[in-house]
């Protein structure tokens, strides 16, 4: 819903400023609109909770004279005028109407919470239908279904009317996303490269020296067609410059910058690029300088990706300083490489490629074994996806990090220990709440819910052992929660002094 100035539920009611001295009722003092905290409507607003039937009732406003129903209050007022009521009855009640906000009747919905109420009755109606209602309206052209009629109408107008197709094959329904994509897409780079290859001679010699075997341009998700791009987009026809050399300014800058960086690279041993390249051969150091990427290097991207892969592996083997933010992007790139085909963009990117602009952080030494484990885990993740997901385990690419030597048991499709090691009974006893009964109730309420969960994990043969041996204390909790998985569970013997949740308290009911 696009509504300008939507803090306006109460704007219909003019607040009559009654400052005693003069009759300035014509120009009410401009009150500064209170800015609400995001996500929280005006704390003084009146929260209205309507039942689903009332909410969806189309004619909530009923004329008391003839019982005719209207969807909007304004319409009702208009109608009432027609009844020729005496003046007194025609006026609306003069009491100020407080701003109203509405909650969604659906209890599981995020907007059921008063602090997430919506300020607009139409809005909450639409929301309720969209989110919790039946989708009765179906688009003719595509198969999209809608619960709200206006949504369906709006969609039907647009559906199939405008489509933008990039040379690489990707289709867009919005022009701005199409243009942005096109600007950076390889298809355009290739088109320029072609036009420059046709140029006589003068390819930038500086750039040439830096063009390497590796590809410096990431491959687009749908591999760019190497054939002459058909400009079937709706961009104005711009025949590529055939005879001209590359825009001097651009390449000069690039070359100059590249030169500068190369110097920097060569001079400082730990280059701004990934240090792994520093410890690899100098060739990979030069390889690291992507700034060499003038358009001529676009053709290089056509070459095989193998050098990239080799470099990746080589640099993986080089241990780096341990960073606060250990950088799994490269490892992720690798693990994804292992499971996806080399043509994919993710492979093509390879975390190593990020040079000066975004220095990568090398993960702690990731041996081949770890790599294979990770691959197995990825593979297992793929097959056991439903199981893992079912137990609320996010896919490993999103949350695991590198260098997990105990990730082996991940590959067997086990569940990350979910803190079930701390039994409900333990939590139920002796809760040292700091006087906030609300918290106590919150937490007392929950334990019994999670009993069965333990059973599940028991079945999988996990969790209990892990949690139990973890001992007590915060470290145990952290271990068993194992946020991102792969925490070395067996090493969690750190005692903490607070033995609240030692083994005896764990109420196993398996």
């Amino acid at each position: 819903m696009v509504d300008l100035d939507n803090v306006s539920t109460a704007s219909g009611e003019a607040s009559i400023s009654s400052s005693g001295n003069n009759n300035n009722n014509q120009t009410p003092k401009p009150t500064k609109k209170k800015r609400n905290l995001p996500g929280m409507p005006d704390p003084e607003a009146e929260v209205i909770a309507l039942s689903p039937t009332t909410l969806l009732a189309t004619n909530r406003f009923v004329c008391e004279i003839c019982n005719k129903g209207f969807q909007r209050d304004q319409n009702l007022q208009l109608h009432r005028r027609g009844h020729n009521l005496p003046w007194k009855l025609r006026q609306r009640s003069s009491k100020e109407v407080r701003k109203r906000v509405y909650v969604c009747p659906e209890s599981t919905c995020v907007h059921h919470d008063p602090s997430r109420a919506l300020g607009d009755l139409t809005g909450i109606k639409k929301h309720f239908c969209r989110k919790h209602g039946e989708k009765k309206w179906k688009c003719d052209k595509c198969s999209k279904k809608y619960a709200v009629q206006s949504d369906w109408k709006a969609h039907s107008k647009v559906c199939g009317s405008r489509e933008y197709k990039c040379d690489c094959g990707t289709v867009f329904s919005r022009r701005d996303s199409f243009i942005t994509h096109r600007a950076f897409c390889d298809a355009l780079a290739e088109e320029n490269a072609k036009s420059q290859n046709q140029a006589v001679g003068k390819a930038n010699s500086e750039s040439d020296s830096k063009v390497l075997t590796g590809d410096s341009l990431p491959v687009a998700p749908t591999p760019a067609a190497i054939t002459t791009p058909q400009s079937n987009s709706d961009l104005p026809e711009n025949p590529p410059q055939i005879v001209e050399e590359p825009e001097a300014i651009v390449t000069t800058t690039t070359a100059a910058a590249a030169a500068a960086v190369l110097n920097a690279n060569c001079s400082s041993s730990s280059s701004t690029s990934s240090t792994s390249n520093g410890c690899a051969a100098t060739s990979s150091g030069v390889f690291a300088s992507l700034f060499a990427s003038s358009t001529t290097s676009a053709s290089a991207s056509m070459q095989s990706h193998t050098p990239v892969f080799t470099d990746l592996i080589r640099s993986m083997g080089c241990p780096d300083r341990s960073a606060d933010f250990s950088a799994p992007p490269s490892s992720e790139a690798i693990s994804l490489c292992l499971s996806t085909n080399p043509g994919s963009s993710i492979f093509g990117t390879g975390g190593q490629e990020c040079r000066q602009y975004v220095p990568t952080h090398q993960p702690p030494a990731m041996s081949a074994t770890a790599l294979l484990q990770k691959a197995a885990q990825m593979g297992a993740a793929a097959t056991n996806a439903s199981l893992l997901r079912g137990l609320g385990i996010v896919s490993s690419s999103a949350s695991t990090s590198s260098g997990q030597h105990d990730s082996l048991h991940w590959g067997l499709g086990q569940v990350e220990p979910e803190g079930s090691g701390l039994g409900p009974a333990g939590l139920g006893l002796g809760l040292p709440c700091d006087g906030d009964s609300g918290l106590k109730e919150l937490m007392l309420g929950t334990p019994s819910m999670f009993g069965p969960k333990q059973t599940t994990l028991d079945f999988l043969g996990l969790g209990m052992a892990a949690g139990g041996s973890a001992g007590g204390g915060l470290s145990a909790l952290i271990t068993s929660i194992g946020g991102s998985g792969g925490l070395d569970v067996t090493a969690a013997t750190a005692s903490f002094g607070n033995g609240e949740f030692s083994g005896k308290d764990i109420g196993r009911n398996s």
Partner: protein
Amino acid sequence: MHVHMKAELKAASISFQNQTLFNTHQTTPPLPEPEALKGCLGSLDGACIEKLLLHCASALESNDITLAQQVMWVLNNVASPLGDTNQRLTSWFLRALISRASRICPVSMNFKGSNIIQRRLMSVTELAGYVDLIPWHRFGFCASNNEIFKAIKGFKRVHILDFSITPCMQWPTFIDSLAKLQEGPPSLRITVPFFRPMVPPLVNISIHEVGQRLGNFAKFKDVPFEFNVIGDNVSLTSEELSNIESTNFHFESMLNLLNPNMLSLREDEALVINCQNWLRYLSDDRKSQNISIRDAFINLVKGLNPQIVLLVDEDCDLSSSSLTSRITASFNHLWIPFDALDTFLPKDSCQRTEFESDIGQKIENIISYEGNQRIERLESALQMSQRMKNAGYFSVPFCDETILEVKGLLDEHASGWGMKKDESMLVLTWKGNSCVYATAWVPNEIRDHIGLNAHV
């Protein structure tokens, strides 16, 4: 509220235990965690979760480890990276709290290596898709580009200083609109700083290469174009570069570059300063120099006599030193992108998880770090506006054309996205809640010079 909730929880738990859900140990078990618990946790809504988070935070602050771990246990059972909006958001907050806890209570295991959120690098085309997933970024792009377009009318040369964490994503549409000018496009020069805070979204190629692609595109559109990177000749160790504490250092170095000489400013060009999600990373601490980096930046930039300065950022106050207020503010702000993604992407969507993970990184920085390491220092739109006014800027209202353009943009996205005007600010809203604000500024001197009283 509590009593009501407690009763509901108890009632739910009784029926829950009778379910044989967990007795089916078959090949494809149902989804126990998110779905089955959903009923019970249904009443454990956003407000409750927020309270739990706050309890956990205050427990950590007062070193009450026992309470902290109890609350964490509960939160852990609420949290689910693949659950609904609240569950997903909670899982990131919980992770951040744990990360914070681990600093307070060091444990004898390699915790760091395993809980740090991954740094993800994407290709430049992926980034192009990323910024268009929801109007979060594109809103700022659209509003800013339109205003820039107006501000440079009549100039033959345009120079844009682009300070942004989404490198160059804003400009293709701008170049496209320049190309369509009847009188022919002005020549365009874009300068970006080499250094950029180590926050997502990160690309896997150098900024030089990103700029070079942009140049390709400009060439394709017949717009004379030049791309420059400043500050890339500082040789630093990789340790220094990637250390998040060095953010301040880099910004300070960058400040030295903000003079007409280093930037090769020309008299006849229209200078535009574009700041997207940028100022928040500049430190607000007044150090020995009596001026913070943030203020120094604003002042320096004003001294360059720009035609217009665009400032876009998120409307959320995270500058407080109190952890609990930061949790409240960020929790109530960041549910928005989570909710927006929930409306049109499935639970297991990669794009969604990655986008959320990026936000999760921010959450971690906000909650788990302090001092120089905490670089996410957003201030509210009002505070930022006041800061600009104090520095001698005049706020330029957005013209009707811009508003129409932005409306058109939002129409193309899911319903629920809206926009409102707050004085001279344009604010992107999701279901009525403010997300991102866009503002345009002109130094008072320039305004007086060109007689800009009412922006037509």
